[in-house]
Amino acid sequence: MIDRSAAVTEDELHAYVDGELPADRIDAVEAWLASHPEDMARVAAWRAQIDAIRARYGAIDEPAPARFDLSRLTAAERPWRRIAAAAAVVAFVLGGTLGWTARDAFSSAPQATPAPPGFEAFTAEALEAHNLYVVEVRHPVEVPAADADHLVQWLSKRLGYQLKAPNLDSIGLKLVGGRLLPGPTGAAAFLMYESASGERYTIYCGRSSAPETSLRYSEHRRATAVYWAAQDVAYVVSGSGDRKQLGKVATAAYRQLDEQTPQSGG
């Protein structure tokens, strides 16, 4: 991979300090350092940083406090164990292929089209809710996924159409639960999903007379959102940071939600 005749790169100097350098490059790097005092000084400085960091933070002598007792932590969290089972109740079949419309949002081509009506208001509200609730450790939702049936019924009644909570198991996301929120055009539903490593995504939706659109991507500070509207409902899927990953989540949700037909009711 590395050309032996090439000069030693800065990456190699870091790898040398961190013990990541391939064995067959060590001699070359050491020879280089012997004849390049400036690089030698940098390497020495980096090593001094490592020593200082380890000296300052290296060891925690005290025993782990009782709050880290695993059996206690599990007991406090027992309701969560029901979630996996309950989430399976909200099961849907992933079918069909997604229309080309989904590509609009995730292609790198710049979007020349202006933002559709409804887009801004829904996205702003959704991101506000996302940012507010994803950081909640103990009360992220009003109704936990353990009561998924009740959650969907309740939100459907308040929103005035039959809501669906997509099953995102296939992309490693479990439903955490949901809550009712005010929206730009009335009541809005807010559903939260979580990955095994704690990344959270939310779906915000409500009735809207906004025209149907394809998926529209937007960013605000570090939160990212995908908006679309279909069949008198506007949706926003929000996440944190990674556009590609959000695209996957939004696409999976879109596939399932697109199959539904809302009925006016009340």
């Binding site: 800065e10 990456d11 870091h14 790898a15 961190d18 990541e20 940098r42 400085a45 980096w46 940083q49 490592i50 200082a52 960091i53 380890r54 300052r56 933070y57 290296g58 060891a59 925690i60 782990a64 406090p65 709050r67 880290f68 695993l70 932590l73 599990t74 406090a76 969290e77 969560w80 164990r81 996996a84 940012n131 994803v134 950081v135 450790v137 095994a196 490593s197 704690g198 990344e199 959270r200 500070r221 570090r222 944190s240 990674d242 990953q245």
Partner: protein, 163 residues
Amino acid sequence: MSAFRESIQAAIPALRRYARALTRDAETADDLVQDTLVRALRSEHLFHGEETRSWLYTILTNLNRNRLRALARRPAHAPLGDGDATDMAGPEAGMRDIERALAALVPEQRAALLLVVLEGLSYREVAEVQGVPIGTVMSRLARARAQIKAYLDGERVPLRRVK
């Protein structure tokens, strides 16, 4: 105790060490560790003997990012740097140089450096924890080291918000 739990239990001291260096506040650090353990235990059923160490660092790193984001949304509490409460909270005079130098880093760079030099993760493992290519880890490391060096050498360079 299951093998899963044993592996979690064994990781606690390292998680506390990493969290303290990351947040530079023992109480905040232990809150993060506790939340990390709770999240990990929830996912016990997903595990079939895989290695848990990097995964625990991933959870903790993500939770800390969420925490910083929450702090950053409260203007009264958001410092100019990276949104870390301790940056403005304490009397900086009591901090050692290396603490101040770490505090001046953007969070992604600080996490990358600490995972490598304090926790002994490989570049590949750090890339997985941070969800970025190895090249990005290398540039975070390089920037972190350059900035700490500049800080300790006395020339406080302006913060650069580069990935």
